[in-house]
């Protein structure tokens, strides 16, 4: 479904992604794990067109999408949940969700079908329905994360890019959010690329994973393989190899 070929991305002079190659098959959940500054977010921003790659190719369903602006990418069915949630704080929950369907409104889709999808989002996150009229900025971090995911879903994406949905949230809420992601995959067949620092939770949910270090992919494999890998265990899962 999605294929990155030898992607190189720069921030000015900083070489943030070095020859990154990865793929996602339809219906998969794939996770990117790595330390701060490894380039996880940059990969997502490159795919969504926010920071265009300087070389390499991004293919979505075998179409070139490398140099497209973000709005075209969303049109094709890729939605990003940006890092740090970035809900529109002065706007209500409902307005935030409506904005998620911005392009569908522009394309002249009926309000009824968009309403139906909002009901779907409320089914996934009942809390949001209770807070429909509340300003997004007055909600807790977990609620804002749910809103950010709901907002991205309003675009009816085929591929969802999630940037650290567990950031700064209580373990119980992280569990809840991951449960919903799993449900999304099973019920809607949504493909998900998940960036996480919480490697343990991410690998439990995902089918496969890539490990990123200073802009390079250093390891890839199924979640089970990665969880068993000694280096991954030591560096990302907090298990020491045992002192002598």
């Amino acid at each position: 479904m999605l294929r990155l070929k030898k992607i190189n991305t720069y921030y000015g002079k900083v070489h943030a992604l070095k020859n990154v190659t990865l793929f996602l098959a339809e219906g998969e959940i794939v996770t990117l794990i790595g330390a701060n500054g490894a380039g996880k977010t940059t990969i997502l921003n490159t795919i969504s067109g926010v920071i265009p790659a300087s070389s390499g190719e991004v293919l979505f369903n075998d179409c070139q999408v490398t140099a497209l602006p973000p709005d075209r990418i969303v049109r094709l069915g890729i939605s990003q949940v940006p890092e740090g949630r970035q809900v529109f704080k002065p706007l209500s929950v409902e307005d935030n969700l409506d904005l998620g369907a911005y392009l569908r409104y522009i394309n002249g889709e009926s309000k009824v079908s968009i309403r139906e999808d909002m009901v779907q989002v409320f089914n996934l996150f009942p809390l949001l329905q209770e807070r429909r009229k509340q300003l997004a900025g007055t909600m807790s971090g977990g609620e804002q994360q749910m809103l950010a995911i709901g907002r991205a879903l309003m675009a009816k994406p085929k591929l969802l890019l999630l940037d650290e949905p567990s950031m700064g949230l209580a373990p119980l809420i992280v569990q809840e959010i991951f449960r919903v992601l799993n449900q999304l995959r099973q019920e809607n067949g949504t493909t998900i690329l998940l960036v996480e620092q919480n490697a343990r939770a991410a690998l439990k949910l995902a089918d496969r994973g890539y490990v990123l270090e200073t802009g390079k992919i250093i390891l890839e494999g199924s979640s089970v393989e990665l969880m068993e890998n000694a280096d991954v265990k030591r560096a990302y899962l907090g298990k020491d190899r045992g002192l002598p």
Binding site: S48, V50, P70, D71, P82, Q86, F88, P90, Y102
Partner: protein
């Protein structure tokens, strides 16, 4: 929406009734300026209050609209009704072209770029003497007329200007309550998040910049034909700052706030005239006090003040 419409109708009735009370007085003339300033403040508010982009050069668009229709009508004998849309399209097109490169900038840098834009236009008004008359101004601009009805008195101009201002108010109220208004506020709050939802933030910013320039240009045309004389000093940097102050004092992101800000800043100097040389000090002090105690602008601050006063009275009675 219905409630908004009732609010608007009440506002329009109130405005259109004022000539009944003030007919013939000097204040009628001041109210013409309130109308023009309201239009300008609404235009700038779309940009600053909704889309979150600053402009320190809007007086330039205002001046360009005034000069274009002034020159076309006074020098070339055009009908003002033709000059107005032509001026507005030229100004809108120009803003669109300027907007693409400069709206890439943010914050202070955008302020600097728009400041430069305003200054360039001011210099052009001053230096193209053959066209604009330079510093001594352009005179002999005809009044606007419909058939045999010429808008040549304060009272007639009041209705002309305010029908434009009210029309603009209704238009912008609709715009800001629509999908586009939501998208603007989204861009204001977080451009990245707006982008990843598929909002073409850059294009939207440029479009709103152009729209606000068009509104300023129409205000400029009306100004030129009401005054029948224009000179560059009305379109300088000071006026850009005054417009900015109107928008902030009135309330960012509120159309009625723009009216309040424009009305206050236009009427206040008239009422302070009694204080003679001290008027500018009082004026400045009032602005400081208002910004300190009503950071949300008059449109939010005044109702808050009333609520507080009522509470205090209620507490005393209890």
């Amino acid at each position: 929406m219905n409630r908004d419409l009732i609010k608007f109708l009440a506002f329009a009735t109130l405005i259109l009734a004022t000539p009944q009370v003030l007919s013939g007085s000097y204040l009628m003339n001041v109210l013409l300026f309130v109308g023009i300033h309201t239009m300008l403040a609404i235009g700038l508010n779309l940009l600053l209050g909704y889309a979150g982009q600053i402009s320190l050069g809007h007086a330039g668009f205002f001046g360009l609209g005034a000069y274009l229709s002034g020159i076309l009508t006074a020098t070339y004998g055009w009908n003002p009704w033709l000059a107005m849309p032509l001026a507005a399209s030229v100004v809108g097109g120009l803003a669109f072209l300027i907007g693409f490169p400069i709206l890439k900038l943010k914050g202070h840098y955008l302020a600097m770029a728009t400041l430069g834009m305003g200054i360039i236009m001011y210099i052009i008004f001053n230096e193209t003497i053959g066209l604009t008359g330079g510093p001594s101004g352009l005179s002999g601009i005809p009044a606007i007329s419909i058939g045999s009805l010429a808008f040549d008195s304060d009272q007639k101009n009041f209705y002309l200007i305010w029908s434009f201002t009210l029309g603009m108010t209704l238009l912008t109220l609709n715009l800001t309550n629509s999908r586009i208004g939501r998208a603007l506020r989204a861009v204001h709050d977080s451009e990245v998040a707006a982008q990843v939802l598929g909002i073409n933030a850059r294009l939207l910013k440029v479009q709103i910049f152009a729209l606000s320039a068009v509104i300023s240009s129409i205000a400029g045309t009306l100004y030129a034909h009401t005054m029948t004389f224009i000179s560059p000093t009305s379109f300088g940097f000071n006026f850009s700052v005054e417009l900015l102050t109107m928008v902030v004092i009135g309330g960012l992101g509120s159309i009625y706030g723009s009216f309040l800000g424009a009305a206050l800043l236009t009427l206040l100097p008239e009422f302070l005239r009694g204080a003679q040389d001290y008027d500018i000090i009082i004026y400045g002090a009032l602005l400081m006090v208002m910004v300190k105690y009503m950071p949300g602008g008059l449109v939010r601050g005044v109702p808050d003040l009333f609520r507080k006063l009522l509470k205090k009275r209620g507490a005393r009675h209890a």
